[in-house]
Amino acid sequence: MKFESQLLKGIAPVVVLEILSRGQMYGYELSQAIEQRSGDILTLGKGTLYPLLYNLEAKKLIKGKWQQTDSGRERRYYSITSKGKGQLAEQKAQLKELTAGLNLVFGGALTPA
């Protein structure tokens, strides 16, 4: 399903932070993980992914480092920082409250069956 870009814009960073909070990943790995863990509902365009990663890196919410993979290739791995963890916790709390509020508005229609 193609979502309104404005709808996704606000949650893309928190999604990335959540995925990275579970372990460091490189760009391709991260985009695959987002699709898998959201049940293919959420997809991050390739043109959005890397600018988003660099912006999060600039805000010091994640950090990037070139490392060798198991297959011997060099990849840039991203991991969450402590500041990123704090930000993630904050935004998760806000999303939870938002979801609760929206559920009330829509009479529970937002809760998946």
Binding site: Y26, G27, Y28, E29, G45, K46, G47, Y50, P51, Y54, N55, E57, A58, K59, R73, E74, R75, R76
Partner: protein, 638 residues
């Protein structure tokens, strides 16, 4: 092989750097010597320093470049490996994004590697080439607009840079903007044009030109006298002394008896050859007015700073001739004719005074000074009868009473205002900026600041710098007005009055901060030494009245058989109308009877009565109007 080339490259850079360093050093030393005007030789040591520095810098740059090149080559190889493992269209997309990103090479390479790795990972499961191509094409479409992506990547990477790098980048950007603004400003001020609103040359002529008929103008006859004038001859000495111009030969001599027979003969011949000129000069001196039709070097521009006054030197030379003629006449027993000649000179000097350029006024005063000095010289060396003295005194008193002894700065101020209108733009609100190109076209006053170099860039840079630092038109004009009006105010006061008021003769110019001096550099360049110039006018006045007193004393002595006890005796006996006042004390000149006669002197510019002591130079010659000691009018100093 690569190593060999790299080492050869470094060696070549060291050699070239050394050569370039030496050449630049040589040029810098030459320029420095030229600007400073110092006689300096190109020291081998300086050149060696330049060569060593150049070689060192060349070597360092070469090594840095080689290392950077080696690193880049290594990174390119690695990147090439990445791009080689993905389809060509994907590789082209990535290259296009990186190219449009326009950022630091290291960051571009990082992003390129990351995007290439992403493509590699996305395509790793494709089994056939076709499948790879199709998937690659889908990925390319998924990346979206290349330009937008490049912008987003660039922005994001810029945010990643450390604070110090941001500060440095912003600083350079700011400097770049400031430099651009500066260049635009330089172009703006260079393109300015002056508006010549006032013809100051005409104003000067109008001031000197009274409402009078041309027949009353002495300048016409003076010009005829100058045209008829013959230059002094060369004196040929029988003793084998080298030939000399007559005026040069006799310039240090005061009286006829000091002349050699060759000099005396040349003097008489010269005087005879100039009989017509002398007669015209005499007729001119009797005219009531004198005004010259002034012209500038370039008749089209009427620049007051370029005004021609060729007559001044000739008038001085004619005066020198006439004073010697007077001394010859006095020596030959014709004092009345001698004094008549000197009075002609005194009257001629008056014609150059009043609202004129300072140089004219100074020449006029110099002519008058020659006349009164030689009146005293004649009185010192010749016995003159009482009636001749009485006639001389009466005529000199009349001339002194009509004369002005106050320096006029009105016309001199016009020079400053003409400079302002020619070197500044006029924005219609009384202000404007200095125009660099105009400075070079002005008088040779500026030649020492703007050297006549063949290097147009250097010339332009210097005049541009001068224009950039100077004050705007309204401030500059106000400063000139203030200085000249103060100078005119002071000119009306005697040196003693100025001394009592503790006046700062430099008008605080010495106390100006360096910044103000630089900002108002034309003021320092164009304004004369006001105190010294105004004092000259008072010197002539003192000279004249001292001479009148000496004439009166001589008459008194001849009539009464003894010198007066005080100067008041002269007044009471009717030999003198007024006491001669010393402007350096605002009291009468000091008169003392001595064993040999009398002494008459002024206290001089130290305002102290030194008892008539004069200052001599290291050759024993009296320094007239020295800063220390007294100014003695009688006895005539030997």
């Amino acid at each position: 092989m690569y190593r060999l080339v790299a080492y050869l490259g470094i060696l070549a850079s060291i050699i070239l750097g050394g050569m370039l360093g030496g050449i630049l050093d040589f040029i810098a030393i030459k320029l420095a010597c030229g600007r400073l005007g110092a006689h300096c030789c190109i020291s081998i040591i300086y050149l060696l320093v330049g060569i060593v520095l150049g070689a060192f810098l060349g070597g360092v740059l070469a090594i840095v470049h080689v290392r950077r090149y080696t690193r880049e080559q290594k990174e390119k190889k690695e990147l090439a490996k990445y791009l080689a493992s993905i389809p060509e269209n994907a590789g082209n997309l990535i290259k296009s994004i990186i190219r449009k990103m326009r950022y630091r090479k290291k960051v571009q390479d990082d992003v390129m590697a990351e995007l290439a790795a992403h493509f590699e990972d996305e395509l790793k499961d494709c089994k056939t080439n076709d499948e790879r191509q199709r998937k690659a094409q889908r990925l390319i479409e998924d990346f979206g607009d290349v330009n937008l992506l490049a912008v987003l990547l660039r922005r994001a990477k810029k945010r990643c840079r450390p604070l110090w790098r941001t500060v440095v980048a912003k600083t350079f950007q700011t400097i770049g903007v400031l430099i651009l603004c500066f260049i635009v400003y330089c172009v703006y001020i260079s393109l300015g044009k002056p508006t010549i609103a006032v013809n100051y040359l005409e104003e000067v002529t109008r001031l000197a030109h009274p409402v009078a008929d041309e027949s009353l103008n002495a300048a016409i006859l003076y010009q005829k006298a100058i045209d008829a004038y013959n230059e002094p001859p060369l004196v040929k000495y029988e003793t084998g002394t080298k030939e000399k111009n007559l005026l040069d030969a006799i310039q240090d001599k005061k009286w006829v008896t000091e002349l050699t027979k060759e000099e005396l003969a040349s003097l008489k011949q010269w005087s005879s050859d100039n009989a017509d000129s002398i007669e015209l000069f005499r007729q001119a001196s009797e005219k009531p007015h004198c005004w010259w039709k002034r012209q500038a070097k370039d008749k089209k521009d009427n620049n007051l700073l370029h005004v021609l006054m060729p007559e001044l030197k000739s008038l001085r030379d004619i005066t020198k001739m006439m004073v010697w003629q007077a001394k010859l006449k006095a020596y030959d027993g014709h004092p009345k004719e001698a004094f008549d000649d000197l009075l002609v000179c005194y009257r001629a000097g008056r014609h150059l005074k009043g609202p004129r350029l300072l140089i004219e006024q100074l020449v006029g005063m110099a002519i008058q000074a020659m006349a009164v000095k030689d009146m005293r010289m004649i009185l010192c060396n010749q016995k003159v009868d009482s009636q001749s003295l009485k006639n001389l005194q009466a005529k000199l008193e009349d001339l002194a009473a009509e004369d002005t002894y106050v320096m006029s700065y009105e016309v001199e101020k016009f020079c400053a205002l003409d400079f302002v209108q020619r070197c500044y733009t006029d924005n219609g609100r009384g202000s404007g900026h200095m125009i660099p190109g105009q400075l070079k076209s002005l008088d040779s006053d500026f030649a020492e600041l703007v050297p006549d170099s063949k290097n147009a860039v250097l010339n332009y840079s210097l005049t541009l710098a001068m224009a950039l630092v100077s004050a705007n038109r309204s401030k500059m004009s106000r400063e000139f007005e203030k200085i000249y009006s103060t100078a005119q105010e002071w000119a009306a006061k005697t040196p003693w009055q100025l001394h009592e008021e503790n006046v700062d003769f430099e008008m605080g110019l010495d106390n100006w901060s360096s910044f103000k001096k630089v900002k108002y550099w034309p003021v320092q360049m164009l304004t004369p030494a006001m105190a010294k110039v105004s004092a000259i006018a008072y010197r002539i006045k003192t000279d004249t009245y001292a001479t009148l007193a000496i004439i009166a004393i001589s008459r008194y002595k001849q009539d009464k058989g003894e010198f007066p006890s005080t100067l008041d005796d002269l007044i009471q006996a009717g030999y003198l109308k007024q006491l001669p006042v010393d402007p350096w004390s605002d009291k009468p000149l000091v008169y003392k009877r001595t064993a040999n006669g009398f002494m008459l002197y002024g206290v001089g510019s130290n305002f102290k009565d030194d008892g008539g002591q004069v200052v001599r130079d290291n050759k024993g010659k009296i320094k007239p109007y020295a800063d220390e000691g007294d100014w003695v009018f009688w006895p005539v100093p030997k």
